[in-house]
Structures are given as C-alpha cells and as structure tokens.
C-alpha cells in the first residue's frame, strides 16, 4: 500500500528497524493497538518511555558513582529499566540490559560501568531512529 515515495520510505525504514534488531514484536503489538481513538498511540508510548527512562538512567548513573557499588540495587534498577524497554520492543537496549545484569551478578564493577555505557548508547541510537521514523510517518501521512 505504498502510494507515494514517502510512504515507501517509511515502510522501508520500519522494515530495517526490525531487520537490524532494533525493534521486536512488541513494537508491532503497539502498532496494532493504534486506532482511531488513539491515532498516535505508538509515538505517545515511545515518548512516554523516553521520558520515564531518563529517570531510570539517572538512578543508575548515581548508583554507579557510589563506592562500593551496590550491585543489588543496580540490578534492581536495571530490572526496572529492562522491563520498561520491553514495553516498546527495544530489542538491542534490552540485550544490553541483560548484559549489565550479568555483570551485576558477577559483581564486576568494570563490567557494569562498561555495559551501562552500551545501554545508554543503544538507548540513544534507538531514540534518534524512532524520532526520524515518526517524523517521516507524519510527513507521509500528511502528504497522503
């Protein structure tokens, strides 16, 4: 159903997000929930996620600064963060979260610090991609 180039572009971008493993099935669930009552549901959810996750990231950063590291607390925070990430289908982010938690169990401070950077990175990358995606989708919708 790609009537115009913009829509084709949107579809293509969406496809690659899945193919490259940035998003998983949950994202499709969100899309399915989008309807007339909530025409921008997916974007709203993603926005909500990024707002809330900023808080969680901040918590983890703070916890990473305390010495000695409270691994249980870190694990707890990350557990929350992972749960949240799963809500939008943020696949790569989730994977990094799992890594982080493994380092927590192993009580590896260095591992935690390192993987947390990766978590943040993936988190940011995904946000940019999704922002672009939604923008494009809006344009394609308007253009229709």
């Amino acid at each position: 159903m790609e009537r115009n180039p913009l829509q084709r572009q949107v579809a293509y971008m969406r496809r690659s997000l899945f193919d490259q493993g940035y998003l998983d099935e949950q994202f499709v669930q969100l899309e399915d929930l989008q309807d007339d009552a909530n025409p921008n549901f997916v974007e709203e959810i993603v926005t909500l996620f990024y707002t809330d996750s900023a808080r969680l990231i901040h918590n983890i950063e703070q916890a990473l600064e305390s010495r000695p590291l409270d691994f249980i607390r870190l694990d707890d925070y990350m557990h929350q963060f992972k749960g949240s990430s799963s809500s939008i289908g943020a696949k790569k982010v989730k994977n990094e979260c799992t890594q982080f938690r493994e380092h927590c169990s192993a009580r590896s401070a260095e591992g935690c610090v390192r993987t947390f950077q990766q978590v943040k990175q993936e988190h940011t990358i995904l946000r940019r991609k999704l922002e672009t995606y939604f923008q494009l989708a809006r344009q394609a919708g308007l253009a229709n």
Binding site: E25, Q29, N38, I45, L48, Q80, G83, S84, S86, S87
Partner: protein, 570 residues
Amino acid sequence: MESGFCSPRTEAFPAGLRVLVVDDDPTWLKILEKMLKKCSYEVTTCCLARDALNMLRERKDGFDIVISDVNMPDMDGFKLLEHVGLEMDLPVIMMSVDGETSRVMKGVQHGACDYLLKPVRMKELKNIWQHVFRKKIHEGKDVESYECMREIQMIMSRSDEFDDGHQLNGGELGATRKRKDMENRRHDDQELVDPSSSKKARVVWSIDLHQKFVDAVNQIGFDKVGPKKILDLMNVPWLTRENVASHLQKYRLYLSRLQKENELKTSEGMKQQDFTCPAGSLGFQTSTLIHPKDAANCDLKYTGNNMLLIDMGTRICREADKKGTVSILPMDLKETSTSNFLDSQRANVSSQTILSRPFNYQSSQSNTTSQKWNEAPMEQFKQPPKQEPEPYALLEDDFSHALQSAPQHLVQVDLQCSAYSVGPGTAVPERDKPGSVMITPVRSQSRSNHSQIVNPETSDAISNFKVGMKNQMVGLNCLNDCEPIQQKIFTVGDSSLGSQVGCAYTESIGLQDIDLLDYYNSELIDELETSYYADLGLNWDNDCDSVQNPFVDQSLFTARAEASGVCYPG
C-alpha cells in the same frame, strides 16, 4: 492515574470486565490500559500498590480482577497479591519481565491465578476473564448465591456470542441452571440479609432445620439418601429440593473430609497451627461454657477447617474456623429431641484429631459461672487447598470426631502459654478425659501472652467469657450447676494477620463465615443481641467481596459498632 468510575457490569460477559491494573511503570500502564480497553474491558489504572488497595477497599465489588506487576517500589507485588486475595478475594494476575521459575512459583504460592511475562501480549489479556468466570463457578457451587447464579446464567446465555465457543462443563451448567428456580423462592428465605443491598440470598440452615435434615437422612439411610426423599421427610414447606440437594452435597463433602482428616490427624499429632503467627497476630478465642447438665452430651467435632463443639444438652454449637472465627451457634436451651442429635459415634473419636496441641485438663468441681475459661488455641486447622470447598459446619449425627463427653465434671484445660504468641498451649485431650473443650487460639494483640478478654454483656443467659492465659485453667463446665449457656459469636478476622501467618485464606474464609451464619438460631438471636446478629449478617452479606473478613473486632460485646463495620487492619 485512575480512569474514572467503575460501574457495575452491565455488558455481556466478558465485555465490561472491570480490571484494575497496578504497575509502577507508566509506559506499561498505558499500554496495558489500551490493550485491556481493546478487549472491551473496563480499565482502571494505578501506579501505586497502596492506592490500588485503597481503591479496592473503597469500591467493594467495584472490580472483577486485578493485574499487578511484581516489582513495585512501595509494596511488594506479592504482598499486594495476598492482601487482595484475603480482603477482596479477587483473582489476581501477576506480571513481570522476570520469568524465573522461582518467581512464578512464588506468585502461585501467594495466590496468583496467573503469571504473565512481560512483554505481555494482547491475546494473553484477552483470556483473563476465565479467572473471573472460574471463580464465579466455584462460588456458585458452594454458596448458593443468587447473585452468582445470575451472573453465571448471564455468562452462559452469552456463550454463543463468544468467538471461541468455549465449552462449559455440562455438569456445571446443569447445576447452575437448576438453581434458577431457587431465585424466586429465595426471597422468603433471606434472613439476616438486607435484600436491597445484599448480594447473597440463601437458605439459612438453622440448627433446627439442619436437625430435620439430618434426621431425615438417618431415617432414609445415608446410602440411600436423595434430595427428594429428604425433602419429603423434612416437611418444610418453603424448602426446595435444590436447597436440600446442595445441602446434601456439602454434607457429603464434609463427611468425607472429616474422614480424611481423621486419618491424617491420628498420624500427625501436633500440627502447625496456622495461627501461631508472631507479631500481633490473630488468634481467635472463645471460651464457652457448656451447660453442666448437658455435659454428657458434649461432642467435639472437627469439621475440616472448623472445630465444632456441640453441646448436646444446651444445643450449643460452637464452631471455630481456622481463620479464628468462632461462632457460637445457639441452640435451644431446653433439651429437645436433638439429644439424639449426636450419635454415639463417639467411639470414633480420636481426641487427637480434635486438638492438636496437647492440653491437660483435669476435672474439678467448681462453679464455672465465674468463667475461668481459657482456651487454648485450636490447632487442628489445616490450611485447606485453595480449591477446596468451604468447610461446612454441620451439626449432625455422624460425627466422626466426637469427643467422649465428660459429663459430670469440670473439665479444665490447662493452658500453658508457651511459644504461642497467639494463644496458650493446649493439649490434646486424652481420650478418657471427659468433657469437651472448645479450644481456640487466643487473640493477642501483641506478642505477649495476654489474652483478649471478652466481656460480653451479662445476662443470665449469656455466658461470660474470659480468656486468660498464662497457665490459667480453663474450666469446661460440664456440671449441672452451671447456667445454661448462650453463645456469643466471636468472629475475629484479620486478613493481614492471615497473610502474616502465611495462609492464603482466600475463598474459604468468607464462606466459612457465611456457613456459620446458617446456624444462628433465631430464637436465641432474639434473646441475645438480635440486631447484632442482623448486623453481622447484613454486613457479611452486603460486603460480598469482603465477606471473607467479617471483621468483628475483638470483643464483640464491647464493640458492637465496630462489629458492623469491616475493619481493615493496617
């Protein structure tokens, strides 16, 4: 985060199912809300467990099911789960991103009816209605509830509309369909019920009624018994065949459970008392006096979760259930034909089955009108499996646990306040000791061994109860020089304590209490505090969902007002 008023269900089930979602993650909360709305459910969201509990308490019967995340900042999801199960008896579904077996198991242990893994799929949410429906079915079977039947009828009549074309068990259907007839006859039968606000209409099986039932059963012969025959023999015009049928069903279940427990008990000895919960936990206490002249006919009976003490002469039936609800069922004070009520099945009695804690009682002659009654915690309550039908308290001939009655002397229970913060230690009455003792855990507000002293209003007809602990003697008065005893109903319920205790009382609790109501002899009620009972009944029937906790706090007599309310501790 609330989405507004929850109206009673009006749409076709499962549409309009009223769901309360509790999750501290705002993203998930929103997603779940949307998903549930798409299932045509009525959704209320909440990000704090405390708020959720308050909401549930405020809107009794405002929700059908609760979905909650496991990890929440203000309260552990499992704790919320327990509370909901105990206080409201609603099905609770747990959610978590963590699917570890141990966690899931914990959820189930705490009473979750399902455990979903995040990310939660829409199709998983679509089916949550089954938990509500299942509960209704179970409730309907045990409780002869008009409301339940009605709902089930509704549900089933809509079954054609369901996509899945779910199949209901034919037997269940039959049972529930038949009950429809009872609707019309119910209205006359409602006692202690406020028709306008009550949700449960039921036949109150008073002692006399039950006595007739039992007589009929015995006359026919237990093996050949059938509802129609019983009904005919009973000759109670307003009673229906269905009433009798369901009563018979319970009776059978009760008997079989007794038997099982009888076997178990003899091998188990001391049982872990559910009530021995340390911190300010709830025990229940009752001290009852048995009319002396009827001491010969004291029988102690264990009915599943309840201990039933029946004093034949005074026809007092005291029952304490595992939740600490002691209801004393008044019987006629005059001796009537029910002296044959309790059979001489006493031979079967194993006293150990009755009291799992050993208590020594010696007989001595003393006038127990001074009511030095201490009763030891009753230990034999076991935590029933959750699906077990409610313990059904019966007064009947075939008591398989009947203590040898100890007619002519005062039976005293020596309470040793020992490890039980809940109540004094008790000992299992030895077989050859006479008398029957009602032992119940003593409610203690604190960890001390102080007992709760209940001071009922005095009257000749009313026994005074005094529960003392600390090695006080419990006098079980089976002597003739005692005043006839009237009962007071002690119901002490405390869901949070229950949860502390670690038992999931859930559905069994409320129905026990309802069953107990059945035995209130209306005559005696008139003599005693009629309105009180009515209040109790009213409240218990009104507060359908909270009926599991007929919170009659502490001394019923001193706190009538409280009795009519539902108290939620903590």
